[in-house]
């Protein structure tokens, strides 16, 4: 029974190749609100399933989780479509939650890590939808120069991507730092793998930003974020920073 639960958990806390289920679903769902809900609920379901098993996580699960995380982080550096990018980064990040389960981290903390990974991805989903409405597609290298044409949205985009790639002091930073620190003394190879994933996220994030906001303005006219929307995004980012502070204080 517990093995079955783990396999089911492998769909929600993605383990390759079960991880494909989430990415197929995420690419089929085109509605931004549904995507946002999916990003929030999916890993929490996985965590609930994993905690239902009441047994230590087998080593193969951990190995597969780390492999999945590296695989999707690596594949994300070659992506240009924002929606796919979100799906891959979510897969890579959620797979790392298995490390928290394996090392018996506090369940509430692991759930908060999951929220910390998901929230900025949800914000990017909303921004991606806005890009699709304004430019016809959310695709890097297609128009570029957003910093010139829609400066407010670019500023928010930078903040959101930094939160996703686990820059200090966002919650994902605490999650990554906590994961590396917990694994370093007992599983140095796992720690090195997590560090590699972190590095690949940075690469993927910079490529996304460079493909969207950098470059001369191409003359396309799109409405920038309103002042109210900008403040709303900034408020969520500040909330994330506060969460990051809280989680940093809660490091092992």
């Amino acid at each position: 029974m517990s093995t079955l639960i783990y396999w089911l958990g492998g769909v929600f806390l993605p383990l390759f190749p079960l991880s494909m289920a989430f990415n197929v679903l995420f690419s089929r769902v085109r509605n931004a609100k549904l995507r946002v809900a999916l990003l929030l609920v999916w890993p929490q379901l996985g965590l609930s399933l994993a905690y239902m098993a009441h047994r230590p996580i087998p080593v193969w699960c951990l190995v597969l989780a780390l492999f999945t995380s590296v695989l999707y982080a690596f594949r994300a550096i070659g992506l240009r479509e924002v929606g796919q990018w979100i799906g891959y980064l979510a897969t890579s990040a959620w797979a790392l939650l298995w490390v928290g389960l394996f090392t018996h981290s506090e369940p509430n903390v692991v759930r908060l890590y999951a929220v910390g990974f998901s929230l900025p991805l949800m914000l990017l989903t909303l921004l991606g939808a806005r890009l699709e409405r304004g430019f016809g597609a959310a695709y890097t290298g297609l128009y570029g120069g957003l910093a010139q044409t829609v400066p407010r949205m670019s500023g928010v985009l930078v903040g959101v991507v930094l939160a996703i790639v686990a820059a200090p002091l966002f919650p994902a930073f605490s999650a990554m730092l906590g994961t590396v620190i917990v694994t370093t003394p007992t599983m140095p190879l796992a720690a090195l793998t997590v560090a590699l994933v972190w590095l690949l996220w940075t690469w993927a994030g910079v490529r996304l930003l460079q493909g969207l906001i950098v470059g001369p303005a191409d003359g396309s006219k799109a409405a920038d974020l309103s002042l109210a929307s900008t403040w709303a995004y900034v408020a969520v980012l500040v909330l994330l920073l506060a969460g990051g502070f809280y989680l940093t204080g809660d490091l092992p």
């Binding site: 690596f74 670019s154 590095l199 910079v206």
Partner: protein, 561 residues
């Protein structure tokens, strides 16, 4: 207000400035820079008070803002570095007021500059591993955006990315070191960790490796990435597309953080065996390659970048021989002179457009065009003097003072090699301006006496200030000891390298620049290798393209899900 609270104020003020600039940017326009400059002046003044207090009364204290993390130290190293950073930041702020006036994103630039200043100050004052890691990581991120200030320029962002990814690579060893230290000692506080290490340095090991050695090795790798050591250096010469004030700040106050980090972890390094000699070798290779590449670049900005690489190599070498405080002196002096060079570059170029003012005499051809001096007789005499003086002192000290004297005083040996290599430049400079040979010799020796004595005195003063405990200073030199045989072989090798260089120059001067046959081909191959920067940049670019192509192929293979 206590000194510890003052440290917090020094870190917080630039953050307040960033917030004020951001909020008042739309209203004040270009005048917003005044806010930033004013708060920079206050930050520098407070940092100077910290340093003055540390010099007069000593410094030892800490303040914790968030329990187990958010600890800030008030110690000699943090007080000194905070003053240097606040000072350089202030100069860069003042310079940027007019320099950036015509650029887009004026307010954003000052916000980023202020946050960078705060982060650098937090890094040098960090008293726990988490705060240090946050600041260490954040510097790379902020530098990326400062270098990419011009959001229209793809080139600026491409090279900013090189910097970011190298810095991120360097973050990882520090994170791993933090994990090991926390697991072993159960605290994030650097002071507590160092106290426990001092009480029992050999208590902990990791898979049979002494923990102190492993942590020191990881810290050293983090320092190498930050200070552009060989193989992790390719980003440095290419980051000139960013604004000049950012280049100045980077070369004066960011790239030398490696030297600071090694000093901060000095209590770990003193309990290692064999780590510091490796640090020395990495620094030596970097200094040689950086200086060689600097000489062969025809792009003045890349040349400056490689000059910094060579200087950073020298700074790491100083750490490697146990001259930790000398490395701090070096990073400060290098920061000041390189910052001056960058900030003065615009004015010099502007003046040179009207009239370069440089007489096309022998000095010009030697220094600028790098052609050897024509007159050989005093050149040989000078070579003999510069080689004979350090070698005879080395022999006398070995026999009279004690066999171990030079192993413990590696810094002095470094100065001797500085003497030998620098001698040629000073000699040539004097030679070309004077007809009197004896005056030339006297002036050269006087110059070097002033430099060596001054450098030694200052380094001693830094030693006393940063490491007042003499036993600890001795421990550092002991950790850097490489044994008599290795030491002598190393000295012999470096001497042979320098003398070989002289002989080669002499030979080429005698035979002119024309080469033919096999020697010519070898020389051309060597020159191509150097001028193409050992093909490392091409290699890294090709590697990153291959990785991107592999990622895309994988995506196609797995049908993009």
């Amino acid at each position: 207000m206590t000194m510890e609270q003052l440290v917090v104020a020094v870190v917080a003020l630039p953050l307040v400035s960033a917030l004020l600039v951001h909020m008042s940017c739309a209203r004040l326009g270009r005048r917003v820079a005044r806010v930033s400059v004013t708060l920079s002046v206050i930050t520098f003044s407070l940092a100077a008070v910290l340093l003055a207090t540390a010099v007069v009364h000593g410094a030892s204290g800490q303040i914790a803002l968030a329990g187990s993390w958010g600890i800030f130290l008030f110690d000699p190293l943090s007080a000194l570095m905070a003053t240097v950073i606040a000072g350089i930041s202030l100069i860069v702020h003042v310079y940027s007021v007019r320099y950036m006036a015509e650029e887009a994103g004026y307010g954003r630039f000052f916000v980023l500059l202020d946050i960078m200043t705060a982060t650098l100050l937090a890094m040098v004052a960090a008293g726990d591993l988490i705060t240090l890691l946050i600041a260490w990581h954040l510097i790379g991120v902020l530098l990326y955006f400062l270098l990419g200030q011009d959001t229209r320029s793809h080139a600026a962002h491409r090279y900013a990315f090189w910097t970011l990814i190298t810095y991120r690579f360097g973050d990882m060893p520090l994170v791993l070191a933090a994990g090991l230290l926390y697991h072993a000692y159960g605290t994030w506080s650097l002071t507590q960790i160092f106290t426990q290490i001092a009480a029992g340095p050999a208590v902990h090991s990791f898979f049979g490796i002494p923990l102190t050695g492993l942590v020191a090795g990881l810290v050293a790798v983090a320092a190498f990435a930050r200070s552009a050591q060989f193989l992790l250096h390719t980003w440095l010469p290419y980051t000139m597309a960013g604004p000049t004030p950012v280049s100045a700040l980077m070369h004066a106050g960011i790239v030398n953080a490696g030297g600071f980090l090694i000093n901060r972890f000095a209590p770990v390094f003193v309990h290692t065996h064999g780590v510091l000699p490796w640090v020395f070798i990495v620094g030596l290779v970097t200094a040689l390659i950086g200086s060689t590449l600097m000489l062969t670049q025809n792009d003045i900005k890349k040349s400056l970048g490689y000059s910094t690489m060579g200087q950073m190599g020298f700074m790491i070498m100083e750490c490697g021989v146990g001259a930790f405080s000398l490395a701090i002196f070096h990073l400060i002096s290098h920061g000041l002179f390189k910052g001056t060079l960058f900030l003065g570059a615009g004015g010099v170029i502007n003046a040179a457009r009207r009239d370069d003012g440089v007489p096309k005499d022998a000095l010009y051809t030697f220094v600028v065009e790098k052609r050897p001096a024509r007159v050989r007789r005093p050149w040989i005499l000078m070579a003999a003097i510069t080689l004979a003086v350090p070698v005879s002192i080395l022999i006398v000290a070995h026999s009279l003072v004690g066999e171990n004297y030079f192993q413990q005083q590696g810094a002095v040996v470094l100065l001797f090699f500085g003497w030998i290599t620098g001698a040629q430049l000073i000699f040539a400079t004097y030679r070309m301006r004077t007809g009197n040979l004896w005056r030339l010799v006297a002036l050269s020796i006087l110059s070097f006496t002033v430099i060596v004595v001054g450098y030694t005195l200052i380094s001693h003063a830094f030693d006393l200030f940063l490491y007042p405990d003499e036993a600890f200073r001795q421990q550092i030199y002991t950790a850097a000891n490489i044994g008599a045989l290795r030491f002598d072989v190393l000295v012999g090798l470096v001497t042979a390298l320098i003398v070989g260089g002289w002989v080669l120059t002499y030979y080429s001067e005698q035979n002119g620049s024309g080469r033919s046959g096999h020697h010519g081909r070898v020389w051309l191959t060597f020159y191509a290798l150097i001028s193409r920067e050992f093909y490392l940049t091409d290699l890294f670019s090709r590697l990153s393209r291959a990785l991107l192509a592999t990622a895309t192929r994988l995506n196609v293979l797995l049908r993009w899900v």
